[in-house]
Amino acid sequence: MKQLWKEIRKSKLAVTGLLVVSILILTAALGPFFLHYDPYAIDLDLVIRHPYGPKSPSVDHPLGTDDLGRDLLSRIVYGSRVSLQVGILAMLIATCIGVTLGMLAGYFGGWLDLIITWLTDTAFAFPAALLAIAVMAIVPNPDIFWIFLVLGLIGWAGIARVVRGKVLSVKEEEYTQSARALGAGHIRIMIYHILPNCMAPIMVSATINIAGNILTEAWLSFLGLGAQPPTPSWGLMVTEGQAYLATHYWMCLFPGLAIAITVLGWNLLGDGLRDALDPRLKDV
Protein backbone atom coordinates (compact mmCIF):
# COMPACT_ATOMS: atom_id res chain seq x y z
CA MET A 1 0.00 0.00 0.00
CA LYS A 2 2.82 2.34 0.90
CA GLN A 3 4.43 1.48 -2.39
CA LEU A 4 1.20 2.38 -4.20
CA TRP A 5 0.98 5.76 -2.50
CA LYS A 6 4.57 6.50 -3.40
CA GLU A 7 3.90 5.71 -7.05
CA ILE A 8 0.74 7.77 -7.16
CA ARG A 9 2.54 10.75 -5.62
CA LYS A 10 4.93 10.75 -8.53
CA SER A 11 2.22 11.56 -11.06
CA LYS A 12 0.76 15.05 -10.96
CA LEU A 13 -2.35 13.88 -12.80
CA ALA A 14 -3.00 11.10 -10.33
CA VAL A 15 -2.63 13.46 -7.39
CA THR A 16 -5.05 15.87 -9.03
CA GLY A 17 -7.48 13.01 -9.56
CA LEU A 18 -7.20 11.89 -5.98
CA LEU A 19 -7.75 15.44 -4.82
CA VAL A 20 -10.89 15.90 -6.93
CA VAL A 21 -12.31 12.58 -5.78
CA SER A 22 -11.55 13.37 -2.12
CA ILE A 23 -13.23 16.76 -2.39
CA LEU A 24 -16.22 15.07 -3.98
CA ILE A 25 -16.51 12.55 -1.18
CA LEU A 26 -16.12 15.29 1.44
CA THR A 27 -18.80 17.36 -0.26
CA ALA A 28 -21.18 14.45 -0.34
CA ALA A 29 -20.55 13.66 3.31
CA LEU A 30 -20.39 17.11 4.89
CA GLY A 31 -21.64 19.62 2.30
CA PRO A 32 -25.31 19.45 3.27
CA PHE A 33 -24.51 20.73 6.79
CA PHE A 34 -23.37 24.06 5.39
CA LEU A 35 -26.37 24.81 3.20
CA HIS A 36 -29.05 27.44 3.75
CA TYR A 37 -31.66 25.97 1.47
CA ASP A 38 -33.52 22.71 1.33
CA PRO A 39 -32.82 21.26 -2.13
CA TYR A 40 -36.45 20.17 -2.38
CA ALA A 41 -38.13 23.42 -1.27
CA ILE A 42 -39.89 25.03 -4.21
CA ASP A 43 -40.59 28.75 -4.12
CA LEU A 44 -43.22 29.76 -6.66
CA ASP A 45 -43.34 33.33 -5.35
CA LEU A 46 -39.74 33.70 -6.39
CA VAL A 47 -40.50 32.29 -9.84
CA ILE A 48 -43.36 34.69 -10.53
CA ARG A 49 -41.39 37.73 -9.46
CA HIS A 50 -40.88 39.80 -12.60
CA PRO A 51 -39.62 38.61 -15.01
CA TYR A 52 -41.07 35.12 -14.63
CA GLY A 53 -38.75 32.17 -14.56
CA PRO A 54 -35.55 30.92 -12.91
CA LYS A 55 -33.55 33.53 -11.01
CA SER A 56 -29.97 34.28 -11.97
CA PRO A 57 -27.01 33.80 -9.62
CA SER A 58 -27.03 36.30 -6.75
CA VAL A 59 -25.79 36.67 -3.19
CA ASP A 60 -28.79 34.69 -1.93
CA HIS A 61 -28.42 31.94 -4.50
CA PRO A 62 -24.78 31.81 -5.64
CA LEU A 63 -25.58 29.50 -8.56
CA GLY A 64 -29.09 30.83 -9.21
CA THR A 65 -32.35 28.93 -8.90
CA ASP A 66 -34.22 26.54 -11.15
CA ASP A 67 -37.68 26.99 -12.63
CA LEU A 68 -39.39 26.03 -9.38
CA GLY A 69 -37.35 28.51 -7.37
CA ARG A 70 -35.09 25.86 -5.79
CA ASP A 71 -31.53 26.76 -4.91
CA LEU A 72 -29.17 25.25 -7.48
CA LEU A 73 -26.16 25.13 -5.15
CA SER A 74 -28.08 23.01 -2.65
CA ARG A 75 -29.27 20.70 -5.36
CA ILE A 76 -25.81 20.26 -6.83
CA VAL A 77 -24.30 19.49 -3.42
CA TYR A 78 -26.99 16.92 -2.67
CA GLY A 79 -26.55 15.62 -6.20
CA SER A 80 -22.98 14.59 -5.39
CA ARG A 81 -24.43 11.89 -3.12
CA VAL A 82 -26.55 10.49 -5.92
CA SER A 83 -23.60 10.54 -8.26
CA LEU A 84 -21.25 8.78 -5.82
CA GLN A 85 -23.79 6.10 -4.92
CA VAL A 86 -24.51 5.31 -8.54
CA GLY A 87 -20.86 5.30 -9.55
CA ILE A 88 -19.59 3.04 -6.81
CA LEU A 89 -22.47 0.60 -6.36
CA ALA A 90 -22.81 -0.02 -10.09
CA MET A 91 -19.05 -0.49 -10.26
CA LEU A 92 -19.23 -3.17 -7.57
CA ILE A 93 -21.87 -5.07 -9.52
CA ALA A 94 -19.97 -4.80 -12.80
CA THR A 95 -16.72 -5.84 -11.14
CA CYS A 96 -18.25 -8.91 -9.50
CA ILE A 97 -19.74 -10.11 -12.77
CA GLY A 98 -16.71 -9.19 -14.84
CA VAL A 99 -14.15 -10.75 -12.50
CA THR A 100 -16.12 -13.97 -12.11
CA LEU A 101 -16.68 -14.45 -15.83
CA GLY A 102 -13.16 -13.38 -16.77
CA MET A 103 -11.59 -15.77 -14.26
CA LEU A 104 -13.76 -18.68 -15.34
CA ALA A 105 -13.01 -18.09 -19.00
CA GLY A 106 -9.29 -17.59 -18.53
CA TYR A 107 -8.79 -20.39 -16.03
CA PHE A 108 -10.80 -23.21 -17.52
CA GLY A 109 -10.55 -22.30 -21.20
CA GLY A 110 -12.25 -24.65 -23.63
CA TRP A 111 -15.96 -24.37 -24.35
CA LEU A 112 -16.56 -22.23 -21.25
CA ASP A 113 -14.06 -19.74 -22.61
CA LEU A 114 -15.74 -19.82 -26.01
CA ILE A 115 -19.17 -19.10 -24.56
CA ILE A 116 -17.98 -16.35 -22.26
CA THR A 117 -15.91 -14.76 -24.99
CA TRP A 118 -18.92 -14.80 -27.30
CA LEU A 119 -21.02 -13.27 -24.51
CA THR A 120 -18.41 -10.57 -23.99
CA ASP A 121 -18.22 -9.82 -27.71
CA THR A 122 -21.99 -9.63 -27.94
CA ALA A 123 -22.09 -7.30 -24.96
CA PHE A 124 -19.55 -5.11 -26.72
CA ALA A 125 -21.42 -5.06 -30.02
CA PHE A 126 -24.65 -4.27 -28.21
CA PRO A 127 -25.59 -0.65 -28.25
CA ALA A 128 -25.41 -0.49 -24.46
CA ALA A 129 -27.33 2.74 -24.43
CA LEU A 130 -30.29 1.10 -26.10
CA LEU A 131 -30.19 -1.83 -23.71
CA ALA A 132 -30.27 0.63 -20.84
CA ILE A 133 -33.23 2.43 -22.37
CA ALA A 134 -35.13 -0.80 -22.91
CA VAL A 135 -34.44 -2.11 -19.41
CA MET A 136 -35.29 1.17 -17.74
CA ALA A 137 -38.53 1.19 -19.68
CA ILE A 138 -39.39 -2.26 -18.36
CA VAL A 139 -38.80 -1.75 -14.68
CA PRO A 140 -41.91 -0.80 -12.73
CA ASN A 141 -40.32 2.08 -10.84
CA PRO A 142 -37.38 3.64 -12.62
CA ASP A 143 -35.33 4.83 -9.67
CA ILE A 144 -31.76 4.80 -8.41
CA PHE A 145 -31.80 1.13 -7.41
CA TRP A 146 -32.51 -0.01 -10.94
CA ILE A 147 -29.85 2.27 -12.32
CA PHE A 148 -27.20 0.48 -10.21
CA LEU A 149 -28.35 -2.80 -11.60
CA VAL A 150 -28.60 -1.76 -15.23
CA LEU A 151 -25.25 0.02 -15.23
CA GLY A 152 -23.69 -2.99 -13.54
CA LEU A 153 -25.16 -5.32 -16.14
CA ILE A 154 -23.81 -3.16 -18.94
CA GLY A 155 -20.35 -2.43 -17.62
CA TRP A 156 -18.90 -5.87 -16.94
CA ALA A 157 -17.67 -6.76 -20.42
CA GLY A 158 -14.56 -4.58 -20.32
CA ILE A 159 -13.51 -5.89 -16.93
CA ALA A 160 -14.13 -9.49 -17.97
CA ARG A 161 -11.91 -9.07 -20.99
CA VAL A 162 -9.04 -7.55 -19.01
CA VAL A 163 -9.26 -10.19 -16.28
CA ARG A 164 -9.36 -13.05 -18.77
CA GLY A 165 -6.20 -11.83 -20.44
CA LYS A 166 -4.40 -11.47 -17.13
CA VAL A 167 -5.52 -14.88 -15.91
CA LEU A 168 -4.23 -16.48 -19.08
CA SER A 169 -0.73 -15.24 -18.33
CA VAL A 170 -0.80 -15.80 -14.56
CA LYS A 171 -2.08 -19.35 -14.96
CA GLU A 172 1.16 -20.42 -16.56
CA GLU A 173 3.37 -18.87 -13.88
CA GLU A 174 5.39 -21.18 -11.72
CA TYR A 175 3.64 -20.50 -8.43
CA THR A 176 0.28 -21.41 -9.90
CA GLN A 177 1.68 -24.55 -11.41
CA SER A 178 3.29 -25.56 -8.15
CA ALA A 179 0.09 -24.92 -6.20
CA ARG A 180 -1.68 -27.21 -8.60
CA ALA A 181 1.00 -29.83 -8.24
CA LEU A 182 0.48 -29.71 -4.47
CA GLY A 183 -3.15 -30.65 -5.06
CA ALA A 184 -4.93 -27.32 -4.45
CA GLY A 185 -8.52 -27.16 -5.74
CA HIS A 186 -9.53 -24.94 -8.63
CA ILE A 187 -11.41 -22.47 -6.48
CA ARG A 188 -8.57 -22.24 -4.01
CA ILE A 189 -6.09 -21.55 -6.80
CA MET A 190 -8.33 -18.94 -8.35
CA ILE A 191 -8.92 -17.07 -5.09
CA TYR A 192 -5.53 -17.34 -3.43
CA HIS A 193 -3.14 -17.46 -6.33
CA ILE A 194 -4.68 -15.87 -9.37
CA LEU A 195 -6.96 -13.18 -8.00
CA PRO A 196 -4.28 -11.29 -6.01
CA ASN A 197 -2.21 -11.08 -9.16
CA CYS A 198 -5.14 -9.61 -11.09
CA MET A 199 -5.82 -6.88 -8.54
CA ALA A 200 -3.90 -4.21 -10.42
CA PRO A 201 -5.88 -4.33 -13.67
CA ILE A 202 -9.12 -4.81 -11.72
CA MET A 203 -8.53 -1.67 -9.68
CA VAL A 204 -7.74 0.35 -12.76
CA SER A 205 -10.79 -0.91 -14.65
CA ALA A 206 -13.01 -0.37 -11.63
CA THR A 207 -11.96 3.24 -11.18
CA ILE A 208 -12.54 4.00 -14.83
CA ASN A 209 -15.82 2.09 -14.64
CA ILE A 210 -16.98 4.52 -11.95
CA ALA A 211 -16.39 7.42 -14.32
CA GLY A 212 -18.36 5.64 -17.04
CA ASN A 213 -21.22 4.89 -14.67
CA ILE A 214 -21.58 8.50 -13.63
CA LEU A 215 -21.70 9.53 -17.28
CA THR A 216 -24.28 6.90 -18.18
CA GLU A 217 -26.47 7.76 -15.19
CA ALA A 218 -26.45 11.40 -16.24
CA TRP A 219 -27.33 10.36 -19.76
CA LEU A 220 -30.18 8.07 -18.68
CA SER A 221 -31.58 10.83 -16.52
CA PHE A 222 -31.31 13.15 -19.50
CA LEU A 223 -33.57 10.77 -21.42
CA GLY A 224 -35.96 10.70 -18.44
CA LEU A 225 -35.12 7.10 -17.59
CA GLY A 226 -32.82 7.59 -14.64
CA ALA A 227 -33.38 9.30 -11.33
CA GLN A 228 -36.88 10.64 -10.90
CA PRO A 229 -37.85 14.18 -9.96
CA PRO A 230 -37.50 15.77 -7.50
CA THR A 231 -34.26 13.84 -6.86
CA PRO A 232 -31.36 16.25 -7.37
CA SER A 233 -29.56 14.15 -9.98
CA TRP A 234 -27.12 16.15 -12.09
CA GLY A 235 -28.26 14.60 -15.34
CA LEU A 236 -31.84 15.39 -14.50
CA MET A 237 -30.90 18.98 -13.70
CA VAL A 238 -29.20 19.41 -17.07
CA THR A 239 -32.37 18.14 -18.69
CA GLU A 240 -34.50 20.58 -16.74
CA GLY A 241 -32.24 23.39 -17.86
CA GLN A 242 -32.20 22.43 -21.53
CA ALA A 243 -35.19 24.52 -22.54
CA TYR A 244 -33.72 27.55 -20.78
CA LEU A 245 -30.35 27.29 -22.45
CA ALA A 246 -30.26 30.52 -24.38
CA THR A 247 -31.76 32.70 -21.68
CA HIS A 248 -31.11 31.09 -18.29
CA TYR A 249 -27.79 29.38 -18.92
CA TRP A 250 -27.03 28.58 -15.25
CA MET A 251 -29.66 25.87 -14.99
CA CYS A 252 -27.85 23.79 -17.58
CA LEU A 253 -24.26 24.90 -17.14
CA PHE A 254 -23.49 24.26 -13.46
CA PRO A 255 -24.86 20.72 -13.10
CA GLY A 256 -23.10 19.78 -16.35
CA LEU A 257 -19.85 21.18 -15.00
CA ALA A 258 -20.32 19.13 -11.86
CA ILE A 259 -20.62 15.98 -13.95
CA ALA A 260 -17.61 16.81 -16.09
CA ILE A 261 -15.36 17.61 -13.12
CA THR A 262 -16.36 14.49 -11.22
CA VAL A 263 -15.83 12.19 -14.17
CA LEU A 264 -12.56 13.90 -14.92
CA GLY A 265 -11.45 13.25 -11.33
CA TRP A 266 -12.19 9.54 -11.51
CA ASN A 267 -10.53 9.24 -14.92
CA LEU A 268 -7.40 10.99 -13.69
CA LEU A 269 -7.27 8.72 -10.67
CA GLY A 270 -7.73 5.67 -12.89
CA ASP A 271 -4.91 6.79 -15.17
CA GLY A 272 -2.66 7.47 -12.25
CA LEU A 273 -3.37 4.06 -10.75
CA ARG A 274 -2.59 2.43 -14.06
CA ASP A 275 0.77 4.15 -14.36
CA ALA A 276 1.57 3.35 -10.75
CA LEU A 277 0.47 -0.25 -10.70
CA ASP A 278 1.45 -1.60 -14.04
CA PRO A 279 3.12 0.44 -16.73
CA ARG A 280 2.51 -2.35 -19.22
CA LEU A 281 -1.25 -1.74 -18.98
CA LYS A 282 -0.96 1.65 -20.61
CA ASP A 283 -2.60 0.60 -23.83
CA VAL A 284 -5.69 -1.01 -22.33
Binding site: F126, L131, I138, L245, V263
Partner: protein, 321 residues
Amino acid sequence: MSAYLVRRIIGVIPTVLGIATIIFFLMYLIPGDPVRVILGQHGDAETRLRITREMGLDQPIIVQYGYFLKNLATGDLGTSYRNNQKVADILLDRMPATLLLAITSVLLSVCLGMLCGIFAAVRQNKIGDVLIMILSLIGISTPVFWLGLLLILIFASKGFDGSPVLFGILPVSGYGEPGLDRLRHLILPALSLSAVSIGYIARMTRSSILEVIRQDYIRTAAAKGLPYSRIILKHALRNALIPVITIVGLNFAGLLGGAVATETVFSWPGIGKVVVDAIRQLDGPVVVGGVMLLAFVFVIVNLIVDITYSVIDPRIRLERD
Protein backbone atom coordinates in the same frame (compact mmCIF):
# COMPACT_ATOMS: atom_id res chain seq x y z
CA MET B 1 -8.59 -14.17 -47.74
CA SER B 2 -12.07 -14.62 -49.23
CA ALA B 3 -12.62 -17.83 -47.26
CA TYR B 4 -11.68 -15.90 -44.16
CA LEU B 5 -14.12 -13.14 -45.03
CA VAL B 6 -16.96 -15.59 -45.57
CA ARG B 7 -16.19 -17.26 -42.26
CA ARG B 8 -16.15 -13.94 -40.44
CA ILE B 9 -19.38 -12.73 -42.02
CA ILE B 10 -21.12 -15.98 -41.12
CA GLY B 11 -19.75 -15.57 -37.63
CA VAL B 12 -21.61 -12.25 -37.41
CA ILE B 13 -24.98 -13.96 -37.68
CA PRO B 14 -25.24 -15.53 -34.21
CA THR B 15 -24.21 -12.26 -32.58
CA VAL B 16 -26.77 -10.17 -34.45
CA LEU B 17 -29.44 -12.83 -33.97
CA GLY B 18 -28.69 -13.03 -30.27
CA ILE B 19 -29.06 -9.30 -29.93
CA ALA B 20 -32.30 -9.32 -31.92
CA THR B 21 -33.70 -12.06 -29.69
CA ILE B 22 -32.85 -10.24 -26.49
CA ILE B 23 -34.45 -7.03 -27.77
CA PHE B 24 -37.48 -8.90 -29.09
CA PHE B 25 -38.29 -10.30 -25.66
CA LEU B 26 -37.32 -7.10 -23.87
CA MET B 27 -39.86 -5.20 -25.95
CA TYR B 28 -42.48 -7.73 -24.98
CA LEU B 29 -41.66 -7.20 -21.31
CA ILE B 30 -42.06 -3.43 -21.42
CA PRO B 31 -45.38 -2.60 -19.79
CA GLY B 32 -48.00 -1.08 -22.04
CA ASP B 33 -49.68 -2.11 -25.24
CA PRO B 34 -48.78 -0.79 -28.70
CA VAL B 35 -52.43 -1.00 -29.72
CA ARG B 36 -53.44 1.19 -26.81
CA VAL B 37 -50.97 3.81 -28.09
CA ILE B 38 -52.49 3.69 -31.57
CA LEU B 39 -55.95 4.38 -30.16
CA GLY B 40 -55.02 7.79 -28.75
CA GLN B 41 -56.20 8.99 -25.37
CA HIS B 42 -59.63 7.35 -25.24
CA GLY B 43 -60.04 3.91 -26.67
CA ASP B 44 -62.83 1.42 -26.29
CA ALA B 45 -62.00 -2.14 -25.41
CA GLU B 46 -63.74 -3.60 -28.42
CA THR B 47 -61.74 -1.62 -30.98
CA ARG B 48 -58.60 -2.47 -29.12
CA LEU B 49 -59.30 -6.17 -29.18
CA ARG B 50 -60.13 -6.02 -32.88
CA ILE B 51 -56.88 -4.29 -33.82
CA THR B 52 -54.86 -6.58 -31.55
CA ARG B 53 -56.28 -9.56 -33.36
CA GLU B 54 -55.68 -7.97 -36.79
CA MET B 55 -52.02 -7.42 -35.93
CA GLY B 56 -51.59 -10.92 -34.56
CA LEU B 57 -50.59 -9.58 -31.16
CA ASP B 58 -53.08 -11.83 -29.40
CA GLN B 59 -50.89 -14.83 -30.17
CA PRO B 60 -48.47 -16.22 -27.61
CA ILE B 61 -45.11 -14.45 -27.66
CA ILE B 62 -43.28 -17.56 -28.75
CA VAL B 63 -45.50 -17.86 -31.84
CA GLN B 64 -44.85 -14.20 -32.61
CA TYR B 65 -41.15 -14.88 -32.27
CA GLY B 66 -41.52 -17.76 -34.72
CA TYR B 67 -43.14 -15.44 -37.25
CA PHE B 68 -40.38 -12.93 -36.68
CA LEU B 69 -37.71 -15.53 -37.42
CA LYS B 70 -39.61 -16.78 -40.44
CA ASN B 71 -39.87 -13.26 -41.85
CA LEU B 72 -36.24 -12.62 -41.06
CA ALA B 73 -35.22 -15.69 -43.02
CA THR B 74 -36.83 -14.16 -46.10
CA GLY B 75 -35.10 -10.87 -45.45
CA ASP B 76 -38.24 -9.18 -44.11
CA LEU B 77 -37.85 -7.11 -40.95
CA GLY B 78 -41.62 -6.85 -40.52
CA THR B 79 -43.92 -3.85 -40.44
CA SER B 80 -44.23 -1.07 -37.89
CA TYR B 81 -47.12 -1.40 -35.45
CA ARG B 82 -47.55 2.32 -35.47
CA ASN B 83 -48.12 3.05 -39.15
CA ASN B 84 -48.00 -0.27 -41.03
CA GLN B 85 -44.88 0.78 -42.94
CA LYS B 86 -42.11 -1.68 -43.75
CA VAL B 87 -39.43 -1.49 -41.07
CA ALA B 88 -36.73 -1.76 -43.73
CA ASP B 89 -38.15 1.31 -45.50
CA ILE B 90 -38.29 3.31 -42.29
CA LEU B 91 -34.69 2.45 -41.44
CA LEU B 92 -33.27 2.92 -44.92
CA ASP B 93 -34.87 6.33 -45.00
CA ARG B 94 -32.85 7.36 -41.95
CA MET B 95 -29.66 5.49 -42.70
CA PRO B 96 -27.96 8.24 -44.74
CA ALA B 97 -28.32 10.79 -41.94
CA THR B 98 -26.88 8.45 -39.32
CA LEU B 99 -24.02 7.34 -41.56
CA LEU B 100 -23.21 10.91 -42.52
CA LEU B 101 -22.98 11.87 -38.87
CA ALA B 102 -21.04 8.78 -37.80
CA ILE B 103 -18.54 8.87 -40.65
CA THR B 104 -17.93 12.59 -40.29
CA SER B 105 -17.32 12.05 -36.59
CA VAL B 106 -14.87 9.23 -37.26
CA LEU B 107 -12.94 11.31 -39.76
CA LEU B 108 -12.98 14.27 -37.43
CA SER B 109 -11.80 12.25 -34.46
CA VAL B 110 -9.03 10.47 -36.39
CA CYS B 111 -7.70 13.66 -37.95
CA LEU B 112 -7.95 15.91 -34.91
CA GLY B 113 -7.05 13.16 -32.48
CA MET B 114 -3.90 12.10 -34.31
CA LEU B 115 -2.80 15.67 -34.93
CA CYS B 116 -3.12 16.46 -31.23
CA GLY B 117 -1.42 13.22 -30.31
CA ILE B 118 1.55 13.81 -32.59
CA PHE B 119 1.90 17.36 -31.38
CA ALA B 120 1.83 16.24 -27.77
CA ALA B 121 4.35 13.45 -28.38
CA VAL B 122 6.76 15.75 -30.13
CA ARG B 123 6.55 18.21 -27.27
CA GLN B 124 6.57 15.63 -24.54
CA ASN B 125 6.25 17.12 -21.04
CA LYS B 126 6.19 20.67 -22.38
CA ILE B 127 3.27 22.97 -21.77
CA GLY B 128 1.57 22.07 -25.08
CA ASP B 129 1.68 18.39 -24.21
CA VAL B 130 0.18 18.87 -20.75
CA LEU B 131 -2.50 21.13 -22.16
CA ILE B 132 -3.50 18.64 -24.83
CA MET B 133 -3.52 15.75 -22.39
CA ILE B 134 -5.78 17.67 -20.00
CA LEU B 135 -8.06 18.75 -22.85
CA SER B 136 -8.33 15.20 -24.10
CA LEU B 137 -9.25 13.98 -20.62
CA ILE B 138 -11.89 16.67 -20.44
CA GLY B 139 -13.20 15.48 -23.80
CA ILE B 140 -13.50 11.96 -22.44
CA SER B 141 -15.15 13.14 -19.24
CA THR B 142 -17.84 15.39 -20.66
CA PRO B 143 -21.37 14.07 -21.13
CA VAL B 144 -22.12 14.08 -24.87
CA PHE B 145 -25.55 15.64 -24.52
CA TRP B 146 -24.27 18.40 -22.27
CA LEU B 147 -21.44 19.19 -24.62
CA GLY B 148 -24.01 19.40 -27.41
CA LEU B 149 -26.07 21.88 -25.42
CA LEU B 150 -22.97 23.88 -24.57
CA LEU B 151 -21.93 24.03 -28.22
CA ILE B 152 -25.42 25.26 -29.12
CA LEU B 153 -25.15 27.96 -26.48
CA ILE B 154 -21.75 29.08 -27.70
CA PHE B 155 -22.08 28.79 -31.46
CA ALA B 156 -25.77 28.92 -32.29
CA SER B 157 -28.01 30.62 -29.74
CA LYS B 158 -29.55 33.96 -30.48
CA GLY B 159 -31.34 36.32 -28.12
CA PHE B 160 -34.80 37.81 -28.44
CA ASP B 161 -33.68 40.58 -30.72
CA GLY B 162 -31.93 38.10 -33.00
CA SER B 163 -28.46 39.10 -31.85
CA PRO B 164 -26.15 36.21 -30.99
CA VAL B 165 -25.74 35.18 -27.33
CA LEU B 166 -22.05 34.48 -27.93
CA PHE B 167 -21.17 33.69 -31.54
CA GLY B 168 -24.52 32.61 -32.96
CA ILE B 169 -23.19 31.74 -36.40
CA LEU B 170 -24.32 28.14 -36.84
CA PRO B 171 -27.82 26.67 -37.06
CA VAL B 172 -29.25 25.46 -33.74
CA SER B 173 -30.34 22.11 -35.12
CA GLY B 174 -31.96 20.28 -37.99
CA TYR B 175 -30.76 18.52 -41.10
CA GLY B 176 -30.58 21.41 -43.56
CA GLU B 177 -30.76 21.36 -47.33
CA PRO B 178 -28.22 19.30 -49.30
CA GLY B 179 -24.96 21.11 -49.96
CA LEU B 180 -23.36 23.86 -47.94
CA ASP B 181 -26.39 24.19 -45.69
CA ARG B 182 -26.16 20.51 -44.72
CA LEU B 183 -22.51 21.03 -43.87
CA ARG B 184 -23.34 23.93 -41.59
CA HIS B 185 -25.91 21.80 -39.80
CA LEU B 186 -23.44 18.95 -39.51
CA ILE B 187 -20.66 20.80 -37.68
CA LEU B 188 -22.04 20.96 -34.15
CA PRO B 189 -23.49 17.44 -33.89
CA ALA B 190 -20.35 15.93 -35.41
CA LEU B 191 -18.13 17.88 -33.07
CA SER B 192 -20.03 16.94 -29.93
CA LEU B 193 -20.20 13.32 -31.01
CA SER B 194 -16.50 13.01 -31.75
CA ALA B 195 -15.19 14.77 -28.63
CA VAL B 196 -14.80 11.51 -26.71
CA SER B 197 -12.97 9.73 -29.53
CA ILE B 198 -10.72 12.71 -30.15
CA GLY B 199 -9.64 12.44 -26.53
CA TYR B 200 -8.96 8.70 -26.69
CA ILE B 201 -7.17 8.85 -30.02
CA ALA B 202 -4.95 11.76 -28.99
CA ARG B 203 -3.82 9.88 -25.89
CA MET B 204 -3.31 6.65 -27.77
CA THR B 205 -1.34 8.28 -30.58
CA ARG B 206 0.89 10.08 -28.12
CA SER B 207 1.79 6.98 -26.14
CA SER B 208 2.46 4.80 -29.18
CA ILE B 209 4.66 7.41 -30.80
CA LEU B 210 6.63 7.83 -27.59
CA GLU B 211 7.08 4.09 -27.41
CA VAL B 212 8.28 3.86 -31.00
CA ILE B 213 10.64 6.81 -30.73
CA ARG B 214 12.65 4.96 -28.09
CA GLN B 215 13.16 1.93 -30.32
CA ASP B 216 16.49 1.24 -31.87
CA TYR B 217 15.63 1.55 -35.50
CA ILE B 218 14.28 5.05 -34.99
CA ARG B 219 17.39 6.06 -33.15
CA THR B 220 19.38 4.66 -36.03
CA ALA B 221 17.34 6.62 -38.51
CA ALA B 222 17.87 9.77 -36.48
CA ALA B 223 21.57 9.06 -36.23
CA LYS B 224 21.72 8.66 -40.00
CA GLY B 225 20.52 12.25 -40.23
CA LEU B 226 16.96 11.75 -41.41
CA PRO B 227 14.91 14.85 -40.65
CA TYR B 228 12.83 14.52 -37.48
CA SER B 229 9.51 15.18 -39.23
CA ARG B 230 10.23 12.39 -41.74
CA ILE B 231 10.92 9.98 -38.92
CA ILE B 232 7.71 10.81 -37.15
CA LEU B 233 5.59 10.59 -40.27
CA LYS B 234 7.19 7.54 -41.82
CA HIS B 235 8.05 5.26 -38.96
CA ALA B 236 6.43 6.31 -35.77
CA LEU B 237 3.06 7.16 -37.20
CA ARG B 238 2.73 3.90 -39.01
CA ASN B 239 3.12 2.05 -35.77
CA ALA B 240 0.71 4.32 -33.99
CA LEU B 241 -2.00 3.59 -36.55
CA ILE B 242 -2.85 0.12 -35.28
CA PRO B 243 -4.01 1.07 -31.79
CA VAL B 244 -5.80 4.09 -33.26
CA ILE B 245 -7.74 1.88 -35.64
CA THR B 246 -8.64 -0.41 -32.77
CA ILE B 247 -10.02 2.56 -30.88
CA VAL B 248 -12.03 3.69 -33.89
CA GLY B 249 -13.56 0.25 -34.21
CA LEU B 250 -14.41 0.06 -30.54
CA ASN B 251 -15.74 3.58 -30.44
CA PHE B 252 -17.97 3.08 -33.42
CA ALA B 253 -20.51 1.41 -31.17
CA GLY B 254 -20.19 4.38 -28.88
CA LEU B 255 -20.71 6.69 -31.83
CA LEU B 256 -23.86 4.90 -32.90
CA GLY B 257 -25.14 4.76 -29.32
CA GLY B 258 -24.07 8.30 -28.52
CA ALA B 259 -25.86 9.35 -31.66
CA VAL B 260 -29.13 8.67 -29.84
CA ALA B 261 -28.45 11.57 -27.49
CA THR B 262 -26.88 13.73 -30.16
CA GLU B 263 -29.70 13.15 -32.60
CA THR B 264 -32.18 14.09 -29.88
CA VAL B 265 -30.36 17.29 -28.96
CA PHE B 266 -29.85 18.39 -32.56
CA SER B 267 -33.08 17.03 -34.12
CA TRP B 268 -30.96 14.98 -36.53
CA PRO B 269 -33.26 12.65 -38.50
CA GLY B 270 -31.26 9.46 -37.94
CA ILE B 271 -31.81 5.91 -36.78
CA GLY B 272 -31.04 6.57 -33.13
CA LYS B 273 -33.93 8.99 -32.89
CA VAL B 274 -36.30 6.64 -34.69
CA VAL B 275 -35.37 3.79 -32.36
CA VAL B 276 -35.86 5.86 -29.21
CA ASP B 277 -39.22 7.12 -30.46
CA ALA B 278 -40.18 3.56 -31.33
CA ILE B 279 -39.31 2.37 -27.82
CA ARG B 280 -41.56 5.09 -26.44
CA GLN B 281 -44.43 3.95 -28.61
CA LEU B 282 -43.72 0.25 -28.08
CA ASP B 283 -43.22 -0.19 -31.80
CA GLY B 284 -41.40 -3.51 -31.37
CA PRO B 285 -40.53 -4.33 -34.99
CA VAL B 286 -38.88 -0.95 -35.53
CA VAL B 287 -36.84 -1.26 -32.33
CA VAL B 288 -35.68 -4.78 -33.11
CA GLY B 289 -34.86 -3.89 -36.72
CA GLY B 290 -33.05 -0.72 -35.73
CA VAL B 291 -30.92 -2.37 -33.06
CA MET B 292 -30.08 -5.24 -35.43
CA LEU B 293 -28.97 -2.77 -38.04
CA LEU B 294 -26.79 -0.86 -35.56
CA ALA B 295 -25.23 -4.07 -34.25
CA PHE B 296 -24.63 -5.29 -37.79
CA VAL B 297 -22.89 -2.09 -38.78
CA PHE B 298 -20.75 -2.32 -35.68
CA VAL B 299 -19.65 -5.86 -36.39
CA ILE B 300 -18.90 -5.05 -40.01
CA VAL B 301 -16.84 -2.05 -38.99
CA ASN B 302 -14.79 -4.27 -36.73
CA LEU B 303 -14.27 -6.67 -39.59
CA ILE B 304 -12.98 -3.81 -41.71
CA VAL B 305 -10.72 -2.85 -38.82
CA ASP B 306 -9.22 -6.34 -38.77
CA ILE B 307 -8.62 -6.25 -42.50
CA THR B 308 -7.01 -2.85 -42.20
CA TYR B 309 -4.53 -4.27 -39.70
CA SER B 310 -3.18 -6.64 -42.27
CA VAL B 311 -2.93 -3.90 -44.85
CA ILE B 312 -0.94 -1.66 -42.51
CA ASP B 313 1.20 -4.39 -41.04
CA PRO B 314 1.71 -7.37 -43.35
CA ARG B 315 3.08 -9.39 -40.44
CA ILE B 316 -0.48 -9.70 -39.11
CA ARG B 317 -2.14 -12.36 -41.17
CA LEU B 318 -5.89 -12.73 -41.22
CA GLU B 319 -5.97 -16.48 -41.70
CA ARG B 320 -4.27 -17.00 -38.36
CA ASP B 321 -7.34 -18.53 -36.71
